[in-house]
């Protein structure tokens, strides 16, 4: 092997080099394939199965897929950032291609022919279309899968793929439509107890008084109360009794150390006044004044956003014979295991963390914390399987939220009205406080000897950034920079949620592009194309304009508007352009959305469309409805009345098209690609309908009325 020209081993194969970590042939006729990625509602299990079946040439139903298990699967960190296919899938395909090649080499040696003369049909080795009597299982005993991956065998070309790009139904959907117990919330075990945690209102708060007797009286059934430091749990075999006690428990505990927060911080502009960690990414700051003349700027804001999964977090744990096993719907079983080991002062080798599906996950929600709750209770009640489920009010109140943000865009225009210098200036709290990634587990904060407050940090630019995500426009401006103000102190815990900073940054950039196009007297589509060289970016804009029958210069009827927006997620994942039609009277109604997306080679076209549709609907919900409300105690919007999301009667007609999904190109993550462009397209459509722009999210009825009065 010529190492000088060898392609670099992907990072995931460097951290998980043993091939048997990815694939095993343990039972005749069966193949075990393992992925560190987990199903969070996005359909990744199905996509992994399609890739494995194609790369190994076995029927999909021969494959036993292991997923997210510290005992059984590779360590792939977190299932996050639209990276499962783009990185996890690519690593899996490389490993499986190499293993298939090893089998063919051995078979060729046995048969006295060249490996190129052989192929695999559903696990059997075939020569010139004829059976050879050899198959994966007859050869497996002589194949050493403990050896390290080299990534020297290329995965199949697109033309040779059968499952990838095909219409494989979701492997998990049947169970869900028949009501099978597929979620953590449905797990049961002999001797299982239910548990609810009486949440420490915030880190550092200490119990002043605690009326256990009142809680027991309310339960109407026997409950066990665990108190360790400032961690309180109500435990019992009867879930109804535990729930009843948990519902009234918060009013029987009083806390010290609760300084009131400022509820006005629910709107984002306060961020600008805060101390921050500042940096400039890209071109040096321009010299001289940046206002007046050819300069123009606009400021956009959004409130904190909740994950608002349709169910609260849950977990199960049991501590038996010195070993802790935790079942969780978290995004990363290995990072969680490390965090649990630190919290419990246990060796990680004595902890197993297993992923089980939960309600849709869009980022760092309460799942890790619920797992920590279950773990703390389990080690304090050895032998009993403990199932924790948060109360809905606690999920809204204590899950990390996506930080409120301010984004100012500033441009100097040239003689043609096009930016020659562009700044995106961003104020935001942190977009990462994952356990082990800059944050603490809630239970750890409540236990005696809590961990120190972690330093403020944001996802690095190498991972697409946090607040800065998509802060750099893809357009061909001569000078581009991001000015990032990372605000260390936020009134509530913040972390990553689908799109991170991209949502408002795309809203700001694309809104400002429309303003610049209008000033130049040009059509928004033509204006964008005039400053955009990337052919794939141009193609999605042109495609979506065609889908929506975009008419340059159309001003629309009164009360109706149409807008376009574009982004390449993280400037490195899928390209996505969206056109939205709205009707505006007292409020905004999104009537139609068209979306064109280039995600490179698409493993599961229908799955990708499903994800893009989901991003469009979530984006519409962000644009029109969502913002976490605060009061002096913290998060005040703790139910669906106070945190409304888009409902069925508010969902637009949606059309999604994939650009060249079966062409042999690296896959680009699509899961988060459509949210930002949707919010921005709706913003542009509303601006056209109103004749004035709303730059603060959400675009509620109140803001529409205010804009009408002002406009």
């Amino acid at each position: 092997m010529n190492t000088a020209t060898a392609p670099a081993l992907p990072a995931l194969l460097q951290t998980n080099p043993r091939l048997d970590r990815w694939v095993r042939f343990e039972t005749r006729g069966r193949v075990t394939v393992a992925t560190g990625r987990v199903e969070i509602g996005q359909g990744v299990l199905t996509a992994m199965l399609q890739m494995a079946a194609d790369e190994l040439d076995v029927a999909a139903d021969r494959i036993d897929l292991k997923t997210g298990d510290t005992d059984l699967t590779p360590n792939e960190g977190y299932t996050a950032g639209s990276q499962s296919i783009q990185y996890g899938g690519v690593a899996l395909r490389l490993a499986l291609a190499e293993v298939r090649g090893m089998f063919l080499d051995l078979a060729a040696a046995r048969l006295g022919c060249g490996p190129a003369e052989l192929s695999v049909v559903d696990g059997a080795i075939v020569k010139s279309g004829a059976a050879t009597g050899q198959d994966y299982w007859s050869l497996a005993g002589e194949i050493d899968l403990s050896r390290h991956a080299t990534a020297q065998t290329a995965p199949k070309k697109a033309a040779d793929l059968h499952m990838i790009g095909g219409k494989t139904p979701r492997v998990d959907l049947d169970a869900k439509v028949f009501g099978a117990p597929i979620f953590v919330h449905d797990m049961t075990a002999d001797g299982m107890v239910h548990a609810r945690v009486v949440r420490q209102p915030r880190p550092g708060a200490t119990i002043a008084a605690f009326d256990e007797a009142a809680i027991r009286r309310a339960a109407k059934g026997p409950v066990d109360i665990l108190r360790v430091g400032n961690f309180i749990a109500i435990i019992g075999a009867d879930e109804t009794a535990v729930d009843t006690a948990a519902a009234i428990a918060p009013s029987h505990v009083s806390w010290d150390g609760l300084d009131p927060i400022n509820p006005q911080q629910e709107e984002a502009r306060w961020l600008i006044q805060q101390p921050s960690i500042d940096r400039v990414i890209g071109a040096a700051l321009p010299e001289g004044p940046t206002q007046g003349g050819a300069w123009r700027e606009a400021t956009f804001t959004r409130m904190h956003i909740a994950h608002a999964s349709v169910a609260p977090s849950s977990a199960m744990a049991v501590f038996q014979d010195g070993h802790l096993t935790v079942w969780t719907h978290c995004q990363g079983v290995y990072p969680l295991r490390a965090a649990l080991a630190r919290m419990l002062k246990m060796d990680a080798s004595t902890i197993s963390v297993r992923h089980v599906q939960g309600p849709g996950c869009y980022g760092h929600n309460g799942a890790d914390d619920a797992a920590a709750d279950a773990a703390v209770i389990a080690v304090n009640r050895p032998g009993a399987p403990v199932r924790v489920r948060w109360r809905r009010e606690d999920e809204f109140g204590f899950e990390p939220v996506s930080p409120a943000m301010v984004t100012t865009v500033r441009a100097r225009r040239d003689d043609q009205g096009r930016p020659s210098d562009w700044t995106t200036e961003i104020w935001s709290g942190r977009h990462s406080s994952r356990p082990g990634g800059g944050g603490n587990l809630l239970a750890a904060e409540a236990l005696p000897d809590p961990p120190p407050v972690p330093p403020a940090q944001d996802p690095p630019e190498a991972n697409g950034g946090g607040g800065t995500r998509n802060g750099e426009p893809l357009y061909d401006f001569a000078e581009k920079r991001i000015v990032h103000h990372l605000v260390a102190e936020t009134p509530v815990r913040t972390s990553s949620l689908r799109g991170l900073g991209a949502t408002i940054n795309v809203f700001a950039i694309e809104g400002f592009m429309d303003e610049l196009a209008a000033e130049a007297g040009e059509d928004p589509v033509a204006y964008r194309l005039s400053v955009l060289g990337d052919p794939r970016a141009r193609a999605v804009i042109e495609r979506v304009a065609k889908m929506a029958n975009w008419q340059p210069g159309a001003s629309g009827e009164t009360g109706k508007g149409r807008g376009i927006a574009f982004a390449q997620y993280k400037n490195r994942a899928a390209y996505c352009a969206v056109v939205a039609d709205v009707e505006v009277d007292e409020g905004v109604r999104v009537t139609n959305v068209w979306c064109a997306c280039d995600g490179g080679l698409i493993v599961s076209p229908d799955g990708a469309v499903n994800q893009l549709e989901g991003g469009i609907i979530m984006g519409a919900s962000w644009a029109l409805k969502e913002g976490v409300r605060l009061d002096s105690a913290g998060i005040a919007s703790r139910d669906w009345e106070t945190y409304p999301i888009l409902r069925f009667t508010e969902v637009p007609e949606i059309a999604v098209e994939l650009v060249d999904p079966l062409v042999d190109r690296p896959p680009l993550g699509v899961g988060e690609a459509s949210g930002g462009p949707t919010v921005a397209a709706i913003g542009n459509a509303v601006a056209q309908a109103l004749g004035t722009r709303i730059r603060d999210l959400p675009m509620t009825r109140e803001r529409v009325m205010a804009a009408l009065l002002k406009g």
């Binding site: 049947d174 996950c361 979530m618 069925f648 007609e653």
Partner: protein
């Protein structure tokens, strides 16, 4: 406490529980029917929807004593993998779901709709499902699946 009698998915059931026990807890914990989900416990999201004498009702806030003698249908009573209800088949055909946590409640609400209106418009489907929340954003294909099921059921009965 005296046992409470009800009919669940066509079979009689005797429940020994406090009458205030939520129907949701009875279904999940006493009768071993986990298809009905806890979503909020506040009667706001629809994950816990069941049919009570044919009408869609949220079971999380409904005391079991109030449904004594009534017929309850849960998602497990709609159909099975071998004998799917046309709605369940249509949801699979349209791949109408992502995380799927909300689907049981949505299927129950959709069944109640089709039972009283075999030819709903898109608008009527949306209005019927408006009390059911879906966060993943599968709404569009869920409505398409309900339309598909309605068409199949109409075809089967004509």
């Amino acid at each position: 406490m005296p046992p409470i009698s009800l009919t669940v998915n066509g079979k009689p059931a005797q429940i020994t529980a406090d009458g205030d026990t939520p129907l949701l807890d009875v279904l999940r914990n006493h009768l071993g029917l986990p298809g009905t989900k806890f979503g909020c416990g506040l009667e706001q999201c629809g994950c816990c929807m069941v049919l009570v004498d044919g009408e869609p009702e949220k079971s999380c806030g409904k005391a079991v004593s109030t449904v004594a003698g009534k017929a309850i249908t849960t998602i497990e009573g709609l159909g099975t993998p071998d004998h799917p209800h046309p709605l369940q088949q249509a949801f699979i055909d349209e791949q109408a779901g992502q995380c799927g946590y909300c689907l049981g409640g949505i299927l129950i609400t959709a069944k109640a709709l089709l039972d009283r209106n075999p030819s709903p418009t898109r608008r009527q489907i949306a209005e019927a499902l408006d009390d059911n929340l879906c966060r993943c954003g599968s709404h569009f294909r869920i409505m398409r699946a309900v339309e598909r099921a309605a068409a199949q059921m109409r075809g089967a009965t004509t």
